[in-house]
Symmetry: C2
Subunit: 337 residues, 2 copies
């Protein structure tokens, strides 16, 4: 440490003057909004009706990656979880666990990322917390965000609502986030670099809800990838799911990286994608709506809900054979989000 | 590791079958309630009116301590923050960051603590998250809880509402939590052991709100202790605060430990106490109400809001001299909560 004041000290988390300065001069000044600047221990909000409430901790490694950083990710992940309830995200909490010695300039970059992504998603950070732990007691920075969103009247979306005959839509390519993180962590270089798909896709979902009342399930295929998400829906809804391998969009670079690393892209994490299970008559309308959003240009119908094999996901391969896609058992990629 | 299945593995956080089993068999089965068991990515709740929203991450070391553990603390801290807004706490999120190798039996003890404290406070854990990081990347277990509470009609409590002439109440003794943690960390033994005051004091606050419309500020003196909390109120409300040293309740064992460790108990953390700034005519009524609650038997009126020295806290000592209580600048006790 050349200059102590440029790094996080234990005192930055101890409740005293240094913490007060960090909170007011860095955190609140970057995230500035009228609710946050009130500086009470709780934010006061007003709601009338149904709301969605969700939480996620982010431990991604490295915390700066191609296509984003832990700040952007911590907004996208929580905003997208709210969108899976059909909710319009409104408010976030933001809680840091920082390692003593963490660079203040890096914290500022991460905070600006939080602000920029929150602005894009239309949400405000209204309450927060900062803890500092001794050097060696953690890995740089961990973030928790919790989120609140408004569920519009008439919207009823749940992992248990998939119906036989429904179509399964996927909003874009698979595996981008996981492969971006992995290749950076392992120092791998590809001809064209793989960029994380990390993005807030709540607007994409709102637009779809505006054109259709027949969206039954929404879920973002993060940890465990597309295969895990489809298994969760099949189990929660007690239905079978059949997908077509050729229909699943994937970037060539991601495909090559997966082959090289021995990974199945169906199990690799995404951070800006949505699986939508929708009534068959509305599938084309929703697909067209997805295509109009910059995060949905590569959306596809990838399969259907079926009466056979309830609780299981089966994929039809280009050779015409069928493959059962199980829940993953072994070790997947750690610290992907 | 003698038996792998008794410890947290990286796969417990990777989104696959092991994580699914951990979540359903341990976490959800212990915290069991109809909203949580729905197992969607977001909980769905209904509100009509003003709500309070708060978040805290807990990194206390050691995570088992005399009078509680990180599970109990993570409920109390957030519930008490909601109470500082005059809110009735209703729902919590619960997010774990676990170190690979963490003992599953310890996790279960912590989860049972969460459940028991949540039951006492009258709140439900409705959504959650579990991340696992490699051995050495963190320090056993970190927990984040975010909370939602309902602010009753007519309640208007804020750190900026203190008025000149108001009385300052403290719900009990100071320094118990910080000294309990410190003495355990340092392996110190006293004649009578110091027990953390960690407790959910939302009922104590609700009872006070029921007997008085004239509670202006509520704040729990956690990190930075009583002196920091009073400074925050003085600054937010732009008033002076004068307190009487002899009026501040403190256990003899805590006093002795502070003298031995060279700590000022006014700056030591509490986890089951509340500072209330109230209109003078209601002070006795509220004090009597505090005394009826098991967490308020030692409550005292400790001082008054004054027009002099706005933004500052001054303490009158038994010798009749005055001492300015500043915001702490240097290093306080780290990882106290």
């Amino acid at each position: 440490m050349n200059n102590k004041s440029e790094h996080i000290l234990l005192s930055h988390g101890s409740g005293g003057k240094l913490m007060h300065d960090l909170v007011t001069k860095s955190i609140v000044s970057i995230l500035d909004n009228p609710i946050l600047t009130r500086m009470d221990d709780s934010a006061q909000l007003t709601f009338n009706g149904r709301i969605a409430f969700t939480t996620d901790s982010y431990v991604v490694k490295p915390y700066f990656f191609t296509g984003g950083d832990i700040g952007k990710l911590s907004v996208c992940g929580t905003v997208n979880d709210l969108a899976t309830a059909g909710a319009v995200p409104k408010y976030l909490s933001l809680s840091f666990i920082l390692e003593e010695g963490f660079r203040l300039d890096e914290l500022n970059v991460i905070l600006k990322s939080v602000r920029q992504t929150a602005d894009e998603a239309g949400v405000q950070v209204v309450t927060g917390d900062t803890k500092v732990v001794e050097k060696g007691s953690t890995d740089g920075i961990f973030i928790n965000t919790s989120g609140l969103g408004i569920i519009p009247h008439g919207v009823n979306v749940s992992g248990s609502n998939a119906k036989i005959g429904d179509y399964i839509l996927l909003s874009g390519t698979i595996g981008d986030h996981g492969i971006a993180i992995m290749s950076q962590r392992e120092g791998l270089r590809f001809e064209s670099p793989v960029i994380s798909d990390c993005a807030p896709i709540n607007q994409l979902i709102s637009e779809a809800i505006n054109v259709s009342n027949n969206i039954h399930c929404l879920r973002d295929p993060t940890r465990g990838g597309l295969a895990t998400t489809l298994n969760e829906i099949a189990q929660q809804s007690k239905v079978g799911i059949r997908i077509i391998e050729q229909a699943i969009p994937i970037e060539q670079a991601v495909q090559s990286a997966c082959e090289m690393l021995g990974l199945d892209p169906l199990y690799v994490a995404n951070e800006g994608k949505m699986v939508a299970v929708v009534a068959a008559p509305d599938a084309e309308i929703i697909l067209n709506q997805f295509h109009k959003n910059k995060y949905g240009t590569k959306a596809k119908i990838i399969g259907q809900v079926v009466a056979e094999h309830p609780g299981r996901v089966v994929m039809k391969t280009p050779l015409g054979t069928s493959r059962i896609l199980d829940m993953p058992v072994g070790e997947l990629l750690p610290r992907i989000c």
